[in-house]
């Protein structure tokens, strides 16, 4: 009632004052010249205020020459002293919490950040360009607060485990959906269905997403925020926006990154490994060229780059060439085109990993050839020669050609209405090939010298094509104190994934063609599906400080057709900005508590079952030159998508005029009807069937803080830190027996009711005082590969034109398996203190637990320093010149004797679940030292 009276009195006051008042107007823009929608313009120490419209314009009736306070979450509040003129255009400076409160271009058409009831993390171009890394997952590592990115191997271009909050599904990979300029692209981040047996190294489709010309990256964390993104978005969505150019004369940017890689030897068991395999520095070089410009009607941005990463050994190498063209044009006054196209050619050579006896690192680290410290000089010399011979004969290559294009037309026929149509595709074709020559087999000791008929050739070709068609509509209007943002639209995706594997035997030495072999066999995998859906979303604002939103999504997939039909998903949320209340603007309050907003929401997201897993099928297999039928998928007519329900609440705060920023979110996610593929009863003789029997819970807190310790014209010192906690549990498995999702039979990653997803299971030994094996608990809980918590830290320090920055990340409360030492144990070489002497002869099945270690780590990902040469000393031709030095992965600390980040076992099946936690037989991410020169003309 008080509020109503206040409103009434305001109306009365305003009416009375009308005769003497005048109208102040203007536009509020951000530093990029984009209008800020919904910014508050308030007459100081009064409740007289307004908000900017969709074009950033405002009008406010005032008396005399008051002070206006313009505020917008994420930006420094600005005061305007009204003078004689009536028009005041303001450009607002960004506040400290860059990644919390800016306008985002989210679903289809952009929406004011302030209106969003969920959090969206953002990494800006400036942050991205600071680290001269080659792949998007490396670039984002330790920058997406709230998201953990673990690179599973130091080999260039291999898979990573990307995860936010906790694992939500036992049926799928945790890699988020990746969208470039509105077009969904291949996010295969692990082994493809068919693959060449290189011992666990799986190439990742993330390795050939060009990282230059990225304007910004948004990460929409899983849960409520992803409801409208539809199927498979439950793990979150990475949205990449590329540069389309800015108007003005052409600007040319040139960048060179020149440096070297050295091995991260902290986790090597034997110093000799480094000496024998990873001695010396290997080249890393990258060259980039960019041209940017345009007129007021059309802009363009072109970039091209060449990368050469020699890894850390004699074999691993990556060569990559890419270019991207982004453009935008005003076709008519209300019709705009924007588009981007990129082509990437990637070439890798790879060494074998530990999952095969061909692995060179495995031969030493797993002591297959004895204890290196006991080698005589002549043994070492002959071993070195043999390892070199193995390297010279290793021939595993991968070639990727990828073309991605995204094209949008945006139509604004009248004020407040926007229609955006997007069409694009991602065509990724990769060929992995392994040539096993007789010479290789002899060098590996696999066949006797002189063998000439064992050569083989194995090749997998994968053709992936994904098309995206999207239409998004938005209507924004205001009615009194209320503002409405109404959205609707739909997407259609078509994925075609064709894989062919050809294996040839008795390959003629020196050849790489199937025609030069004795016999060939073919395996094939094909899947095609169309999926997509429709959504409607309403966001209602009240007085620009309270927002309520709700949405619905209908999602379908042609692999299930009418059987499942459309799945309906709902979300609802609210956010309230306390500091937009007039009483918070008074006095000293706003200087102490500059901003405080609270949010709460509920949302559903879903993962579809594996395509065709509903049907009862017969599989036809090749067998001894005939076609052989076998029982395929048993079929499950009740199969439906799993649904992740999220409840989140939290707040965003900034103190001391933005010097301290904090964002906190409590989340509680429950995956209902979780898709498990538990074992069938052996007596049925049927394959395991996907079924909706599980329930998985993830709860935790996400906390991010930023501190601006020093801020003046010469010095800046900013520090940031984040933590995400997670408690993951399989609440129910619907009575299904536990099942293995990775690792080994004797010590594997399993899914069982009451345990975390992918917990480590094996024999848990108990030793008596003399070190004798007293008892063993078979199939016991040995650890959890998913951390209890993880986060990142960063520090930026600027003195005039010199900037120093560092970032790192950590995890705690996870466990992992030192598989290398299991293998060493077979060779009679044991890590000191791991197994009591009296139990050395026990079965390793019973000893399993001794190889599980705590896998906490803290890693500094980057230490860099950059110097921006002052414009005053630059020749006229230069617009800018900077020089930087980066030390990538300079320091690692871990509680485990192996690198807790790597997992030589890879990810078992295409798109399959992996908890990681099996550290063996692959090299850690290299230390890399890079000198960067950037010049613009």
């Amino acid at each position: 009632m008080k509020r109503l009276l206040l409103v009434l009195s305001l109306v009365v006051t305003a009416s009375l004052a009308f005769a003497q008042s005048r109208t102040i107007m203007g536009t509020i823009l951000d530093e990029g010249g984009e209008p800020l929608i919904g910014a508050t313009v308030l007459e100081e120490n009064t409740s007289n205020g307004t908000a900017t419209d969709v074009d950033g314009k405002y009008q406010l009736n005032v008396e005399g020459t008051p002070v206006l306070v313009v505020s917008y979450t994420g930006y420094e509040p600005t005061r305007i002293q009204v003078g004689d003129t009536d028009v005041y255009d303001i450009t607002m400076a960004e506040g400290l919490l860059l990644d919390v409160d800016i306008v985002v271009s989210g679903q289809g058409v952009g929406i004011a950040r302030k209106r969003l009831t969920t959090t969206v993390d953002e990494v800006t171009a400036e942050q991205l360009e600071r680290v001269p890394m080659g792949t998007i997952d490396q670039v984002l590592q330790s920058k997406l607060e709230g998201t953990q990115i673990r690179l599973s191997s130091g080999q260039p271009g291999t898979a990573s485990i990307i995860r936010n909050r906790g694992p939500i599904s036992a049926n799928g990979n945790s890699t988020p959906v990746i969208i470039i300029d509105g077009v969904r692209v291949d996010n295969l981040n692990g082994a493809s269905e068919l693959n060449v047996g290189t011992g666990g190294a799986s190439s990742s489709a993330l390795a050939d997403i060009p990282v230059e010309s990225i304007e910004s990256v948004e990460f929409i964390r899983g849960g409520a925020a992803t409801t409208l993104y539809g199927a498979d978005a439950a793990n979150g969505v990475i949205q990449i926006f590329t540069k389309k150019g800015t108007s003005g004369q052409a600007r040319v940017n040139v960048e060179t990154n020149l440096g070297f890689n050295t091995v991260e030897d902290r986790f090597l068991r034997f110093p000799e490994t480094k000496d024998l395999l990873y001695d010396g520095a290997k080249l890393y070089q990258q060259y980039r060229l960019g041209v940017d410009g345009g007129s007021d009607r059309a802009t363009y941005n072109f970039s091209g780059s060449f990368l050469n990463d020699d890894g850390v050994d004699d074999i691993d190498e990556n060569l990559r060439a890419s270019f991207r063209l982004g453009a935008s044009a005003k076709i008519t006054d209300n019709l705009e085109y924007s588009g981007s196209s990129a082509f990437v050619s990637n070439y890798f050579t790879r060494d074998y990993n530990a999952n095969t006896s061909f692995s060179r690192i495995g031969q030493i680290e797993a002591s297959r050839i004895g204890l290196p410290s006991e080698f005589s000089q002549s043994t070492t010399d002959s071993l070195r020669a043999n390892l070199l011979e193995q390297a010279e004969n290793t021939d595993i290559t991968e070639v990727v050609r990828r073309f991605t294009t995204a094209n949008s037309l945006t139509w604004r026929p009248f004020k407040g209405f926007t229609a955006k149509g997007t069409f694009g595709l991602d065509s990724r074709r990769n060929r992995t090939r392994e040539i096993g020559s007789n010479a290789l087999l002899v060098s590996k000791g696999s066949v006797a010298p002189g063998t000439a008929n064992q050569g083989y050739l194995s090749q997998v070709q994968r053709d992936f094509l994904s098309t995206t068609t999207e239409l998004a509509l938005q209507y924004v209007f205001e009615a009194g104190d209320f503002s409405f943002n109404t959205n609707g639209g739909g997407q259609l995706f078509r994925n075609i994934d064709e894989q062919v594997q050809i294996d040839a035997t008795d390959l003629v030495e020196g050849s790489e063609l199937f025609v030069n072999s004795a016999d060939q066999s073919v395996d094939q995998f094909v899947t095609e599906q169309t999926f997509g859906g429709f959504y409607a979303y309403e966001n209602i604002g009240f007085k620009n400080k309270l927002f309520v939103d709700f949405g619905v999504r209908l999602d379908g997939n042609s692999a299930f057709g009418d059987d499942i039909g459309f799945v309906d998903l709902y979300r609802v949320g609210m956010t309230y900005s306390l500091t937009d209340e007039a009483f918070m603007q008074k006095g000293q309050i706003s200087k102490i508590l500059t901003r405080a907003s609270f949010r709460a929401n509920y949302g559903q997201s879903s993962n579809f079952p594996t395509a065709f897993s509903r049907d009862r099928l017969i599989a036809a297999q090749t067998y001894l030159g005939t076609t052989a039928f076998t029982l395929g998928n048993p079929g499950n007519a009740q199969l439906s998508p799993e649904v992740v329900e999220s409840i989140e609440f939290g707040g965003d705060f900034s103190f001391l005029e933005g010097r301290i920023g904090t964002s906190i979110t409590f989340y509680d996610q429950t995956t209902t009807d979780a898709l498990f593929t538990p074992p069938s009863a052996p007596s049925s003789g049927q394959l395991n069937q996907e079924t909706n029997v599980g329930e998985i819970s993830n709860t935790g807190i996400e906390l991010q803080t930023d501190f601006a310790i020093i801020q003046n014209s010469d010095f800046d010192l900013n520090v940031r830190a984040s933590i995400t906690t997670n408690k993951n549990e399989v609440v129910s498995s619907g009575g299904a027996p536990e099942f293995n999702v990775g690792g080994f039979t004797f010590l594997g990653s399993f899914i069982k009711e009451g345990q975390p997803l992918g917990y480590l299971r094996g024999g848990n030994p108990v030793f008596d005082a003399e070190g004798n094996l007293e008892s063993v608990t078979r199939n016991d809980f040995l650890g959890n590969p998913t951390p209890d918590g993880y986060g990142s830290v960063g520090l930026d320090f600027r003195y005039k034109s010199l900037t120093f920055f560092t970032s790192g990340d950590y995890q705690y409360g996870a466990q992992g398996v030192n598989v290398d030492d299991v293998l060493r144990y077979f060779r009679g070489i044991n890590d000191e203190g791991r197994i009591p002497d009296n139990s050395l002869s026990e079965s390793f099945f019973d000893l399993a637990g001794v190889w599980v270690e705590d896998a906490d780590f803290f890693k500094i990902r980057n230490i860099g320093v950059q110097y921006q040469v002052p414009g005053t000393v630059l020749p006229d031709a230069f617009q800018g010149l900077s020089v930087a030095f980066n030390a990538i992965n300079p320091l690692s600390f871990a509680t485990s004797s192996f690198d807790p980040e790597v997992t030589g076992a890879g990810i078992g099946r295409q798109g399959g679940f992996s908890a990681g936690g099996f550290g063996y037989g692959t090299i850690s991410n290299p230390r890399r030292f890079i000198l960067t020169l950037k010049a613009s003309f």
Partner: protein, 482 residues
Amino acid sequence: MSIRKIAFSLALIAGSLVACEAPEDFFEPRNPDLAVDAVLGTVSSSTRLLNGCERQLAFAYQEILPIAEIASDNYQNTQTFFNQFLDALNIDFTDNDLNDTAFDIQRLRALANLGINDIGPGDETTTADQTASFYFFRGISQLLAGSYFRSIPVEANGALGSQSDLYALAIADFDTALGQATEAATINSILLARARAKRAAGDCTGAVADAQTLLSNDGAFVRYVMFDAINGPENILQNALFDRGTFDDLQPLPTLDFLDPKYNNIIDPTTDFNVPYLKAEEAHLIIAEGHLASGDVGSAKTVMTNLVALVDSRETATFSDANEQRSQVAPGSRPDTTSVVVSAGPNRPFRSGLVLDRNNGDDVTIPVISGTSVRGTYLNDLTGVEATLEALYLMRQEIFIAEGRRVIDLGIAFVPSENELLLNDNVNMEDVQPILPSFIEANQANMDAFTYDAATGEATVTVNFNELIVQNRTSEFVAPCF
């Protein structure tokens, strides 16, 4: 070029790339597998399903062979990822290998059932011999299930059947099969399989009759489990014994050294060695055992002598086995030269010629179907039922090495797995407890044990299990003819 033209061109390129498929297929999903309805009633579907049964049998043997050989006294699992529990005869219902073995055996039954009930009747080209073959494969599945498991469901999620229940089901299927079979190979396969099932069920007379019919039909009969080294399933035991060189080591009992590795890859790289799972040797062994059961040592020895002739007529492989090492982890711990003499037990004489030298640069010659050391004077000098029966079981051990048969002769059988327990209401906790013959349990720790003195070149096997079988021949677990 204006931006408008660029946009148009890009849209055109994008459009043409998508146009690689027919527009009407846009919403059509494509699945690499076939719906059941698309297969039923098609011509040659029986032929293809029989190929599938043959293939499934190979999958079953992939599971059976490593664990059966490891669980027996044939091979010691020195340091491999193959089953470690069973090397010490720890039969545990949570052991995944037991689950996988049961699964693949019973999957063969599921496939054969599909042939008998659906595919066979639906395919108008199905022949009587093909119908017989479906019954044969179902019988084989029941025979394998009964041979390796103390009890196992007799049908999908069904009640448990004892070993004798399963042998009876197998014999019934073989009877049906024999009634329809028209081709010699099918008939002979059924005869020998039924002979084995009858012997296992204790019907020695019936077994001997089938064995004799088989020998009169084809005295050199062999039927193989066929592996496909290219497309799979491959011969896993070949992998363990030979292909992986020193990486995975299964080491034979010193008395069996001359028979290892039965599977090697000298044929050519595209072919794995097949496993002779039904061979005429077994018919001789059954007949000889029949004679001994009735106390006729002379006739038994005659059959055994004939058997040696058959064994000697079988092919061998000569190849370099230099990559395999006997003593790699602990040098000198295992016999590895021809000069070593081995005794089958503490009270048995040392015999020479049982150990080969693999690292002297010479090729070795190994029997790939069957081999035996029971011959010549050793065979001629046998007197009495007990000594002859012990020699007969040694022959069985040698002839069937790497075929997964030894555990059955030892009376060892596995239990239903944890998954069956959890998913099948007919299985209770007491059903998954292992039952070992007492004389095996007493020597559980010494399954592969032997002593070896490298200086004297003498190796002695700790426990002579063939002797134990003979001593306990009236036990329900072993020597079913006694």
